[in-house]
């Protein structure tokens, strides 16, 4: 079942056009990765999807057109965007950040969910009363992901989750993301420079070059594609 269907997506910043008509899909339960060099338009793509910038084209999510909705409405519809640089609110505690993640929910299971995510990320549980800004980059990235999950989203957009993290932390993070997808069936659209780690948990992927998709295929196909290997995997 198609969860997210993007057709002819164009967009940019003011007069500067960044995206030149992207077409891609994310099926329910899939992890899809978008690879690309700096400036290819990866972050812009995610920002267009979450309504953070003006874009044109068609974006159908869960059967509804979401392109011209406001950011908070898109979030309420079930798209959780973990922005580049994590976006944790540094002067709120870990616990408060998680609670804020559940802002769109009206049910009474928020406390139970918080404990669930503390079980997935035990390091957050140890720091629940601590200000988010006092934690390390890796811990803040975990918090950003747990906070996104608090909304019980249908699709998580992850922008460079490995940015600024030590390799060992990055590996742990991707193991957790892979497990979340396999065990809970959470759909993800991941933008990532660390192609080998991203492809390891992905079902499919796209390669973005200066605002256009140049290669599309399954994770295995991309991993064995010579151009992709040379450009993004380094061997």
């Amino acid at each position: 079942m198609t969860l997210l269907e993007v057709e002819q997506l164009t967009g940019g910043y003011g007069a500067v056009r960044v995206l030149y008509g992207l077409d891609f899909v994310v099926d329910a339960g899939e992890v899809v990765v978008i690879l690309g060099a700096n400036g290819a338009g990866k972050t812009t793509t995610l920002r267009a999807l979450s309504g953070s910038l003006d874009a044109k084209g068609h974006v159908r999510f869960d059967g509804r057109d979401i392109l011209h909705r406001r950011t908070e409405q898109i979030a309420a519809a079930g798209v959780a965007h973990v922005p580049q640089g994590r976006g944790t609110i540094t002067d709120l505690t870990v616990d408060e950040n998680l609670r804020l993640g559940a802002y769109t929910r009206r049910d009474r299971d928020v406390d139970t969910d918080i404990e669930t995510w503390y079980a997935v990320f035990p390091r957050l549980a140890d720091r629940r009363g601590q200000l988010a800004g006092s934690m390390s980059g890796g811990e803040q990235q975990m918090l950003a992901i747990a906070r996104a999950m608090m909304a019980r989203p249908k699709l998580v957009l992850l922008d460079e989750p490995s940015l600024g993290l030590a390799p060992i932390i990055t590996q742990e993070l991707f193991r957790t993301l892979g497990a979340l997808n396999r065990e809970q069936g959470i759909s993800m659209l991941v933008v990532e420079q660390n192609a080998s780690l991203a492809l390891a948990i992905a079902n499919r992927g796209y390669v973005l070059e200066t605002g256009s998709i140049v290669v599309a295929g399954s994770a295995d196909e991309l991993g064995s594609n010579d151009d992709v290997r040379k450009a993004y995997l380094g061997f």
Binding site: A80, P83, T90, D91, R99, L100, Y103, S134
Partner: protein, 293 residues
């Protein structure tokens, strides 16, 4: 010694008013990063409403509550209609817009209510005690009590409710709060509304203890409130309260002991602002943002 304690109490009483208006400044600064120069005049207009209500025979405390409710709506509308269109502009543009608001609201108040002196009654009986020569006024006790209740309610709102959490989220990082589904625009409207209501309360605290309401009533109070917020740190409610009391007490003691400064006691808040900016630019309770990356 009696003079000292009398002046100390007067200072605390005035300080409670400065603190209340400083809290109004802080509420807007925290969410939008705007120094609202119109805060005093918004409170002025609210106090004219209060006068109108009491003048037409409404019970004072009920009139205060109704005035605060109307001020909330008015503040929210000002955010939506006047501030939102310039929200993305430079700080200079926004400062000029709030100064424009200052002049506009003050003129509007004069057009509607005239420039005559309007007496606003207190909602409590006036009484003075004189134990050992120290003058203790019921004004002081009530105003400090009102400030304490105001702070308690604000604390509960900000720390214990979902709205308060969203408010603090938007203060910390509006973009990221928006991605979590927080309707940032609506929260900013609530912030301005809350600030206007708190300002209205400051007016209702200050004016009944003076000779009466005139169009310039809130201007000196605003200067003291700015000093209070600068001393406490512009993003801290606690700081606004402590700053307000410091400014009030410093001013009252100066007037009491330094005859040379009588009538030009605005020197005191400006002197205090200068000292704070020199030695602790973020204020006593303000946060300098430290972050591990």
């Amino acid at each position: 010694m009696a003079l000292f304690f009398t002046q100390l109490l007067t200072g605390i009483q005035n300080g409670a008013v400065y603190a209340s208006l400083a809290i109004a400044l802080v509420l807007i600064f925290r969410t939008t990063g705007i120094l609202n120069f119109a805060q005093g005049e918004m409170a002025l207009f609210s106090t004219y409403l209060l006068w109108k209500f009491t003048d037409s025979g409404l019970t004072v405390w009920l009139a205060i509550i109704i005035t605060m409710a109307i001020s909330f709506v008015g503040g929210a509308l000002i955010e939506r209609v006047v501030i939102r269109p310039v929200e993305q502009s430079s700080a200079l543009v926004i400062v000029i817009v709030t100064i424009g608001l200052f002049l506009a609201i003050n003129s509007l108040a004069q057009v509607i209510y005239g420039s005559g002196q309007r007496a606003v009654p207190t909602f409590y009986p006036h009484h003075i005690w004189r134990p050992g020569g120290v003058i203790i006024s019921s004004d002081t006790l009530v105003l400090v009590g009102v400030l304490a209740i105001e702070c308690l309610l604000l604390f509960l709102l900000l720390q214990r409710t979902k709205l308060g959490l969203a408010f603090r989220g938007v203060s910390g990082n509006a973009e990221s709060s928006r991605l979590l589904g927080v309707p940032v625009g609506r929260i900013l409207m609530v912030g301005w509304g809350l600030s206007a209501a708190v300002g209205a309360l400051a007016g209702a605290m200050a004016i009944p203890t003076t000779a009466g309401l005139v169009p310039s009533s809130m201007q000196q109070i605003l200067v003291f409130a700015f000093a209070a917020a600068a001393i406490g740190g512009f993003d801290s409610v606690v700081g606004a309260v402590v700053g307000g009391i410091i400014v009030g007490v410093a001013d009252a003691l100066t007037i009491g002991y330094v005859n040379a400064l009588h009538g030009i006691d605005l020197v005191v808040p400006f002197g205090l602002i200068l000292l704070v900016l020199l030695f602790r630019p973020a204020g006593l309770f303000g946060s300098t943002h430290v972050e591990r990356v």
